[in-house]
């Protein structure tokens, strides 16, 4: 921690208590040189941050500086570089842990959120095969047990549980969605019961923008002693997060969606649970003693970090967190909220456009997916791209959600701290022209 304190402040802009405004956003944009690129002759409007965010120079510089000065294997070497690398690596963990309300031993590095969710699924699977001894017994599941997901989950928080169910014989059930894009809490109340062992839910939908009532779900799960796994991919980058206060058991998020690098994500796990969960990936750096026949494992987080870790990426992610902190994640949230409403209101006003999820006026994440009557999302995206506007098209890794609303794909615009009202307006203007170009208005 004290190392942490010694690191130079990553941002020049002093943190303000005023709401984030356009002038400051314009200054922030200068930290993201890619935003000044031109695409197809137009200035780039990057409206795809829910897929992956861009990174400020501070993050690139922090990683490069580490690589040019202290790069070495961590937790292994005695030499000066190795010790320095280890300290920076663990200081990075402390920074990120603090950002999400976790203790340092409750934060495990993974490749991405997907791997974090798989870690939990395989840990449970291994426990169910008898690994991890008596301590892991509470994780054992089998036929008759139920895993509850929701119909809005990203494939990352759905397929690992399908596979876990297939491996163990447990049953998978899904909480349905209301027409307005919210979870059917009546379903949840009915479904979460005696047999429920796991409840896997997203904090915010990457398609609908719905903010889920996580506290309510935690309460339902707690009543039947079920474990809650939170997909926090779309919440951690955008709003102040405190997993401990939220009361979830596990949570997953990715670095690349929060100004950090690809190749790194994290799993949060409550200390007692992580301590009891059997290992997932095995190999070097996660053991105490290895004989030819068996191994003893380190306590968390090391137990779950096999092999050489994503050291420079952890350091870069910590720089990203410091950047977010220096702007203020709640200020970012407010900015995105107002831009998000501008998006929804604008889209609602365009003929032939149907917004998925909560309508304007209702709290939602700073992203909007929509359907254009008579034009396929991929064509919508291509049309927008021609004007330099980058959006995401397709099923956004949420096929069951799309099927629920009787479509196979949609177009999604998503926001982050660096987007501006002008970008939103230019986007809306272009959406306005889509149907005419494809002759869908005739």
């Amino acid at each position: 921690m004290s190392v942490q304190e010694q690191l130079p402040d990553v941002r020049q802009h002093p943190k303000s208590v005023e709401p984030l405004g356009l002038a400051e956003v314009e200054r922030l944009r200068a930290d993201f040189p890619i935003l000044a690129e031109r695409v197809n002759g137009h200035p780039l409007s990057y409206l795809d941050s829910a897929a992956t965010s861009q990174r400020p120079l501070h993050v690139l510089d922090a990683e490069r500086e580490f690589l040019l000065q202290a790069n070495a294997a961590v937790h292994r070497g005695a030499h000066t570089l190795a010790a320095e690398a280890t300290e920076q690596f663990e200081a990075a963990r402390a920074t990120v842990a603090r950002f999400v309300g976790a203790q340092v031993n409750e934060l495990v590095w993974t490749s991405n959120a997907t791997e974090a969710l798989n870690l939990v699924a395989y840990g449970i699977s291994n426990a169910s095969l008898g690994r991890g001894g008596a301590a892991a017994a509470p994780f054992r599941i089998g036929p008759g047990d139920e895993i509850v997901v929701t119909e809005m989950e990203h494939h990352a928080n759905l397929v690992p549980w399908q596979e876990l169910a297939a491996r163990t014989g447990a049953t998978l059930r899904a909480i349905g969605l209301a027409d307005d894009g919210t979870l059917r809490m009546d379903d949840a109340v009915e479904m979460i019961g005696e047999r429920t062992r796991l409840v896997c839910v997203t904090a915010a939908s990457n398609v609908l923008g719905t903010i889920n009532p996580v506290e309510e779900i935690v309460a339902l799960a707690a009543a039947v002693s079920a474990i809650v796994v939170l997909d926090a991919c779309q919440s951690v980058p955008h709003r102040a997060t405190d997993f401990a206060a939220l009361g979830v058991d596990f949570a997953a998020f990715s670095g690349h969606k929060m100004l950090g690098p690809t190749g790194i994500g994290a799993l949060y796990g409550r200390a007692e649970l992580l301590a009891a969960l059997p290992p997932f990936l095995t190999g070097g750096s996660m053991i105490t003693t290895v004989t030819l026949q068996e191994a003893e494992y380190l306590p968390p987080p090391q137990r779950f970090e096999a092999g050489t870790q994503r050291v420079s990426q952890a350091i870069a992610l910590a720089a990203a967190v410091r950047y977010l902190d220096s702007v203020g994640v709640e200020r970012i949230h407010e900015w995105e909220r107002s831009l998000g409403q501008r998006l929804v209101v604008g889209l609602e006003g365009i003929a032939g456009v149907r917004v998925l999820g909560p309508q304007s006026g209702i709290d939602r994440a700073g992203l909007v997916a929509f359907e254009v009557d008579g034009v396929h999302s991929h064509d919508v995206g291509q049309f927008l791209d021609d004007r330099g506007i980058a959006v995401r098209v397709g099923h956004h890794c949420a096929q069951p959600l799309h099927r629920r609303y009787r479509i196979t794909s949609s177009t999604r615009a998503s926001l982050y701290l660096y987007n501006t009202p002008d970008e939103v307006d230019a986007f809306l203007d272009s959406v306005h022209d889509v149907r005419a170009f494809f002759g869908a208005d005739r």
């Binding site: 991929h378 291509q382 170009f437």
Partner: protein, 148 residues
């Protein structure tokens, strides 16, 4: 609208996508194939219809959903694949593949591909090549099971 976008969505492509030919599976048929574009989840099914002698492909019917490019491509394929021997079908698929993988270098063999050469512009859009190829890959796959 930029000229790039217009060279992708040529008028003939937009026409075919709005009023596709051969859409709707026709009863019968000697072989069928369903293909999924993993990037978007769109699906397309084609059916090969033999002629009376059962040695030639009289026509191809198809169904499915997808973007303008994929729908137009299936429609254009339908127009190309009329009354052909299996090896002639294969030759057209090969010609199409050559064009669509050319990264803008090939204008397409009009003799073999007819109006389908209007899809040549797609070859510069890597993410759209699968869209344009879907119907052709499906026919190629079905052809393997076409038993004259």
């Amino acid at each position: 609208m930029s000229s790039e976008l217009e060279s992708l969505y040529r008028e003939v492509i937009l026409d075919h996508s709005r009023r596709p030919h051969g859409r709707g599976l026709v009863d019968g048929g000697a072989a069928e194939s369903r293909q999924v574009n993993p990037m978007c989840g769109d699906e397309l099914t084609v059916r090969l219809h033999p002629d009376a002698t059962c040695t030639r492909i009289a026509s191809v019917s198809w169904t499915g959903h997808g973007c303008a490019i994929s729908q137009a491509s299936a429609s254009l394929l339908h127009d190309v694949m009329l009354d052909l021997e299996p090896n002639e079908v294969a030759a057209r698929i090969a010609a199409f593949r050559e064009m669509i993988r050319s990264r803008g270098q090939s204008a397409g063999d009009e003799e073999l591909l007819g109006d389908a050469v209007s899809l040549a512009g797609v070859s510069r859009y890597v993410a759209r090549i699968k869209c344009a190829s879907l119907a052709w890959v499906a026919v190629e796959d079905a052809l393997q099971r076409f038993e004259p």
